[in-house]
């Protein structure tokens, strides 16, 4: 079997790896197919900030030699993947989507990049993102917009927009992103792929450009639950270079994957269906809950009373941490420097030119929240509310094993729809943010298409600390029933496959 390029790029991560193991495929074929797919589609999608073709070809050749010798390093050996552009990659530009890091080549690799490459995965490039992972639409990228493969006039979600779009567009078989307030789950739901934010501390943050250190977590995106489980197994685990990384042993995430939903207690928070959830999104999510019931799970109504305070607490804590983390961009050791007479002028001029509007807005907000006279009223109060949010979940997990609801109140929104009103953009994170505040694992799994727009809808599952295995098992049970969305059209305007009649089509070509 040496299938056409589209057959190769459409394979799951596990299938691609199994093909290499069986010597039916070569890493070279897979990498060439991925590079060709990127070349053919990325002008429209905009998922990549950097394609490392030569490096990938060299690694593919090595992977093929290992396969020939029967010395494959793992199921991922030789399979093309890509990583968000905030993971340090030795000698390869790492921008975090910001001008202030334009051209910076880190002198070391992030732990997760090292672990992927140790497993033999071939990193073919660096993915587009909101600047410093601040945003929910990828529109804050300083370099270029990224589009949703299911409708190019809509956002892929953010901040890991490129990580979700590249996987949905069949450019790579899997990717890594980061999630500080929903930045893996939101784009995964908007682009119809699976995305997991692990428990805080499960995956090392060493070599990850920091946004909000008590909230940031690295996680995988792929087109199947099994692939996400595979990737998590490779990147999870203790790292002495990250003090917050947990020493707990890593579960075998594949072991219980097929055990189904029978007997599972699925908590349904009433607050996640209130206030502004789109009717079509709610319909898809309720249908997924009905699937769980049919599979023998028990639905339990629960309450997370502090949900609505999550955004307020988050938009004090995250900017406060960001204002401190981003103080390192001062034009001295790396990154942009603007020439100026004195040191203070150099700092201010460098930061004025290097940062876009969103990092500036958050630095300002965080600086204010931490400044003398306001610290107790804002930052300290927000941290206390964070405790209340965590207690809500602790309480809920006495009566359920996973919590289920929408990822976002809406499907992917049109590019430009929310850029003028930052608060409006922030409010879209209402259901994802509390999971980060409580340091819990959460994932998004496709649960159908939105009737009116035809866009993918994601179901969010949140689990107990370090219980990613149950989340993955629950997601797999749904995936088996609902399936994954068909490959995207890469056109403007989604193809409506549902009940609603489609409006007149303005897009090029026939539907």
């Amino acid at each position: 079997m040496s299938g056409s390029d589209s057959e190769l790029t459409g394979l799951s991560l596990r299938e691609a790896g199994a093909g290499i193991a069986a010597r039916a495929l070569s890493s070279r074929d897979l990498v060439e197919a991925a590079l060709a797919r990127i070349a053919a589609t990325d002008g429209r999608v905009g998922a990549f900030l950097e394609v490392t073709a030569e490096r990938a070809r060299a690694q593919a050749a090595q992977a093929d030699q290992r396969a020939a010798r029967g010395e494959r390093r793992s199921e991922l050996d030789g399979v093309p993947v890509a990583v968000k552009d905030l993971f340090a990659t030795k000698g390869v530009p790492t921008t975090a989507g910001s001008r202030i890091l334009e051209g910076w080549k880190p002198p070391y690799d992030a732990t997760v990049v090292e672990r992927l490459e140790d497993a033999g995965a071939v990193v073919v490039g660096k993915l587009n993102m909101d600047e410093f992972a601040m945003g929910s639409s990828n529109e804050n990228s300083a370099y270029k917009p990224c589009a949703n493969p299911y409708d190019l006039s809509r956002t892929p979600g953010g901040s890991s927009g490129g990580s979700a779009a590249a996987v949905a567009a069949r450019q790579v078989h899997g990717s890594l992103g980061t999630d500080t307030g929903g930045s893996i789950r939101l784009p995964a739901s908007f682009c119809g792929v699976v995305g997991l934010k692990p428990t805080y501390g499960r995956v090392s943050r060493y070599g990850v450009v920091a946004f909000a250190s008590s909230l940031d977590q690295v996680g995988p995106l792929a087109r199947t639950v099994e692939d996400v489980a595979l990737l998590l197994g490779k990147i999870a685990g203790h790292d002495p270079r990250d003090m917050t990384s947990s020493a707990r042993p890593v579960d075998d995430y594949l072991a219980a994957l097929e055990e189904g939903a029978r007997g599972l207690r699925v908590g349904v928070p009433r607050e996640w269906f209130q206030g502004g959830v789109d009717a079509g999104v709610e319909r898809s999510v309720r249908a997924a809950l009905a699937v769980y019931e049919r599979l023998g799970a028990k639905l339990v109504e629960i309450s997370l009373p502090h949900t609505k305070y999550g955004i307020a607490a988050y938009y004090l804590i995250a900017p406060a941490e960001a204002s401190s983390n981003l103080a390192r961009y001062d034009g001295v050791r790396f990154g942009l420097r603007a020439e100026a007479k004195g040191l203070r002028e150099m700092y201010a001029e460098t930061r004025e030119r290097g940062f876009g509007a969103e990092p500036k807005r958050r630095i300002m907000l965080g600086t204010y929240a931490l400044s003398a006279g306001y610290y107790d009223a804002y930052y300290l109060r927000a941290q206390k509310v964070r405790t209340l949010v965590r207690r809500d979940f602790d309480e809920a997990f006495r009566v359920c094993d996973v919590i289920a609801g929408p990822v976002s109140p809406t499907v992917a929104f049109p590019l430009g729809a929310r850029t003028q009103d930052p608060l409006q953009m922030y409010l879209g994170d209402v259901f994802t943010i509390t999971c980060n505040l409580a340091a819990l694992p959460g994932l998004s799994v496709p649960c159908g298409l939105h009737g009116e727009s035809g866009m993918p809808v994601g179901l969010q599952l949140v689990g107990r600390p370090f219980d990613e295995a149950t989340l993955l098992r629950a997601a797999r049970a749904l995936e088996r029933e609902v399936g994954a969305p068909s490959p995207p059209s890469l056109r403007e305007g989604a193809e409506v496959r549902g009940q609603a009649p489609s409006p007149p089509s303005l897009r090029e070509g026939a539907a």
């Binding site: 080549k105 203790h238 917050t244 609505k308 930061r351 204010y368 819990l440």
Partner: protein, 97 residues
């Protein structure tokens, strides 16, 4: 909670940002709206609630590494991305006039 232009300039100065007049006006409006939204935290009674000061789940203590020598970047590697350098030092503009 409306921020004045004067306050916006003061915060920008603390944050080592030099904002244009346009940015000052935009941020005054936008930051005021965000601060108005976060005021809803005042509705909650947080008496006796401890702040969540770290995010390690389940109250785990952080794993501290052994305080021992380990390999690190060479001076040349550390300086490779410096916008300006002299010898083995990062070079900055004059600090004292």
């Amino acid at each position: 909670m409306a921020l004045s232009l004067e306050q916006v300039r003061r915060i920008a100065d603390l944050a080592r940002l030099r904002l244009s007049a346009d940015e000052e006006r935009t941020f005054a409006v936008q930051l005021s709206a965000i601060l108005e939204h976060v005021r809803q935290l005042e509705e909650l009674d947080v008496t006796g609630v401890p702040p969540m000061t770290h995010a390690l789940a389940g109250g785990e203590a952080p794993e501290l590494r052994v305080d021992a020598d380990r390999p690190c970047l060479s001076p040349a590697e550390a300086l490779a991305a410096a916008p300006a350098r002299e010898g083995t030092c990062f070079k900055v503009p004059r600090i004292i006039e």
